[in-house]
């Protein structure tokens, strides 16, 4: 059973949701603050303007006080009063007193706690007859019966209008706040998404990578994500070093094993040449066969490691498939000649450009040809044919006249799997896997088909590069 990679435990709240909540809560707080500040500012502004009117009114009342022979005369400025009352049916109270004695006006209208000036009225608020009043007072000195008397004028005004204005202002402030809040929700979500997007992009870039791709990330990332990208690249670098160490180790191990193995083989061949005892000869031949098998396996394991290592991180370059096939063909020619196998090549003289990694393709070609030679009988023939199909595929077929494929043919390209009829032929079963992996890495395909009369054809198809 195959399982996915272990997943990190998600935190209780996603980053995006947390950000959205924070944005929303912050904007709600701002809306409340806005509401109170709007109301406060509106109240202050309306009180200041009404105080100015009230002050002007009390001054003009004060100006209407005159001393006459008969006593005190007062001209009430009705225009001023009507101006005061104009603001939403306010009620107006006044009192005029000489010292503590009320001369005219409303009984027990609150008096100023401090003595007001001549020109600048004092303002205060007080309750009178069940209403909240805003009051202004001013004093005038009048010569009365040869005495200077201090006359205090108090003017009071209800502030129903102001309360209405404040209520209206507060109401519109509430509506504005609610509107902002309604807008803030989606905006917060959008902003959270925008903030998270680079993280998503980075995650996507990591996910999109193939399993062997160990290049560092050159992905542009916001400054805040650079430590994460740096940490990721550090991890990749460590992994790459570990893999390179492993690769070096494999090559070194192969080297260390091969040198004594070649000595064993050569000595065994010498011993074989010098002995005539059939039993000993049989043993020596088996020994040499086993050495051949192990060195072939070592080669294929190395090839396989190389293909795996390169398959996701090669830089595709133009490769002449035909020329490469020709050179691999030449390199196996001596081996074919040893067994008098004739190789017929067709279509290798025209360049067939594919895009890929020359070394990997070379390894694939070598394994295909090795395989064909291995399963060909002595004095047999191998046909190598390269053609370009109409759908722009370079199709290389290598056909032998060997034992062919087993009738219940399993997928012979699976790792370490060999045909049930491979029998006495030396092999590790890795060769065709390598070819299939190279084909896959280049967007091509590999298949084995029965030959037209006998034997088998290995077909490697690679997409031709665009002209």
């Amino acid at each position: 059973m195959r399982r996915g990679p272990p997943r990190a435990q998600p935190a209780r709240l996603s980053l995006r949701r947390r950000l959205a909540w924070q944005f929303a809560a912050l904007s709600a707080l701002l809306v409340v603050a806005l509401f109170f500040s709007v109301r406060f500012a509106a109240e202050r502004a309306s009180r200041a303007s009404q105080d100015a009117v009230l002050g002007a009114a009390v001054i003009s009342v004060g100006d209407g006080i005159r001393a006459q022979d008969m006593g005190l005369a007062l001209d009430l400025p009705y225009a001023t009063f009507s101006m005061l009352g104009a603001m939403g049916g306010e009620r107006i109270f006044y009192s005029l007193s000489i010292g503590p004695r009320l001369v005219t006006g409303y009984q027990q209208l609150p008096q100023p706690s401090q003595r007001p000036g001549d020109l600048s009225p004092v303002f205060w608020s007080a309750d009178y007859r069940g209403s909240r009043l805003r009051l202004a007072a001013i004093t005038r000195r009048v010569l009365l019966e040869n005495r200077i008397e201090e006359i205090t004028v108090v003017l009071g005004q209800t502030r129903y209008g102001q309360a209405v204005i404040a209520r209206d202002t507060a109401r519109s402030a509430v509506w504005i706040g609610l509107a902002i809040l309604a807008l803030a929700g989606p905006l917060a979500l959008w902003a959270a998404r925008a903030v998270i997007r680079p993280v998503d992009r980075l995650a996507e870039a990591v996910t999109r990578r193939g399993p062997h791709d160990l290049r560092p990330f050159r992905h542009p990332a916001p400054r805040e994500l650079l430590p994460l990208v740096g940490a990721l690249n550090g991890l990749i670098a460590r992994l790459r070093t570990a893999l390179q160490l492993a690769e070096t180790f494999i090559f070194e191990a192969a080297h260390r094993i091969r040198t004594p193995l070649s000595l064993v083989r050569t000595e065994a061949e010498m011993a074989l040449a010098e002995t005539s005892d059939p039993g000993t000869r049989q043993r020596l031949r088996r020994m040499i066969r086993a050495i051949g098998e192990s060195s072939r396996s070592a080669n294929q394991i190395l090839d396989h490691a190389m293909v795996l290592y390169r398959s996701d991180q090669f830089d595709a370059a133009p490769v002449d498939f035909a020329a490469l096939a020709g050179s691999v063909l030449r390199s196996v020619q001596p081996v074919a000649e040893m067994r008098e196998i004739t190789m017929h090549a067709e279509g290798l003289d025209l360049p067939r450009m594919v895009s890929g990694d020359g070394r990997m393709i070379e390894v694939a070609l070598r394994n295909i040809l090795d395989n064909a030679l291995k399963y060909s009988p002595d004095e047999g023939e191998v046909w190598i044919r390269l053609e370009a199909t109409e759908d722009r595929i370079a199709r290389l077929s290598v056909c032998d006249r060997g034992r062919g494929l087993p009738p219940d043919q399993p997928d012979l390209t699976a790792r370490f799997l060999r045909g049930s009829n491979a029998g006495d032929v030396v092999g590790s079963g890795l060769g065709l896997t390598i070819v299939a992996e190279v084909a896959a890495a280049h967007g091509g395909s590999f298949s084995l088909q029965p030959g037209s009369e006998k034997g088998a054809c290995a077909i490697l198809s690679l997409p031709l590069s665009q002209p």
């Binding site: 090559f251 070194e252 192969a254 080297h255 260390r256 091969r258 040198t259 193995l261 070649s262 000595l263 064993v264 083989r265 050569t266 000595e267 061949e269 010498m270 074989l272 040449a273 005539s276 059939p278 000869r281 031949r285 040499i288 066969r289 050495i291 051949g292 060195s295 070592a298 080669n299 190395l302 090839d303 190389m306 390199s331 020619q333 001596p334 081996v335 000649e337 040893m338 067994r339 008098e340 020359g358 070394r359 070379e362 390894v363 291995k374 002595d378 006495d424 032929v425 030396v426």
Partner: protein, 221 residues
């Protein structure tokens, strides 16, 4: 032919040299690049078998120096670390061929022959015997004016028999040297090639003699 074998493992060098000597080749052994230079300065060689990792340097650097000095004795690289990059890089650096240790001796010989054949004219591979001329590289047998083509195993067989004319070679011995160890061969398989070679040798003044129960030998008529 004369070979220079540059290999630092003494045991392996001894074994390879004696195996090559069996085919009648002259082999000088150098255990380091320094020694190899001395040998090359003193005598002409037909082919160099060069190991990659040597105590005083990299065989590939040595090869590059040789090629840089316009000395183009054919070179076959031998390596124990057969990564593909090695193979590609060494061929790019001017090696004629490449063989991975441990190698099949027959394959090494086949590669040597292929390299020398490609470098036609570098080596005079003609050999006179009785009434024919045998050219191992051209794979021909010339009897009078008639040139007869030899197939790989006929050629191999003639080469072995000619390396010590008159000596008797047993069937098993010839099988070891004619066939790959990867295949199972019956002792009688050799008879096919003896028969073919005999036909090619008709009228050449030489005779391929069967010594019943012992083996074969090549003698002048």
């Amino acid at each position: 032919m004369r070979f220079l074998l540059v290999e630092d493992s003494d045991d392996l060098a001894t074994a390879v040299a004696s195996r090559l000597a069996m085919d009648g080749h002259g082999v000088d052994r150098a255990a380091s690049l320094g020694e190899a230079r001395d040998f090359l300065a003193a005598a002409p060689y037909d082919l160099i078998l060069l190991d990659i990792s040597l105590p005083d340097g990299d065989g590939r650097d040595f090869l590059a120096q040789e090629r840089g000095a316009r000395r183009d004795i054919p070179v076959i690289m031998m390596t124990a670390s057969a990564s593909v990059s090695d193979r590609v890089a060494t061929l790019d650096q001017g090696a004629d061929d490449f063989i991975t240790k441990p190698f099949d001796f027959a394959e090494l010989q086949a590669r040597c022959r292929a390299v020398l054949r490609r470098r036609q004219g570098v080596v005079d591979s003609r050999q006179h015997f009785a009434g024919f001329i045998f050219d191992a590289l051209a794979a021909t047998l010339t009897v009078g004016d008639e040139v007869r083509e030899l197939r790989a195993r006929e050629l191999r067989l003639l080469e072995i028999l000619l390396s010590r004319p008159g000596q008797t070679y047993s069937k098993p011995h010839l099988i070891d040297r004619l066939f790959s160890f990867d295949e199972e061969v019956s002792d009688n398989a050799i008879e096919v090639y003896v028969g073919r070679l005999r036909r090619k040798l008709e009228g050449s003044g030489a005779r391929l003699e069967t010594l019943r129960g012992v083996g074969y030998r090549l003698i002048p008529e």
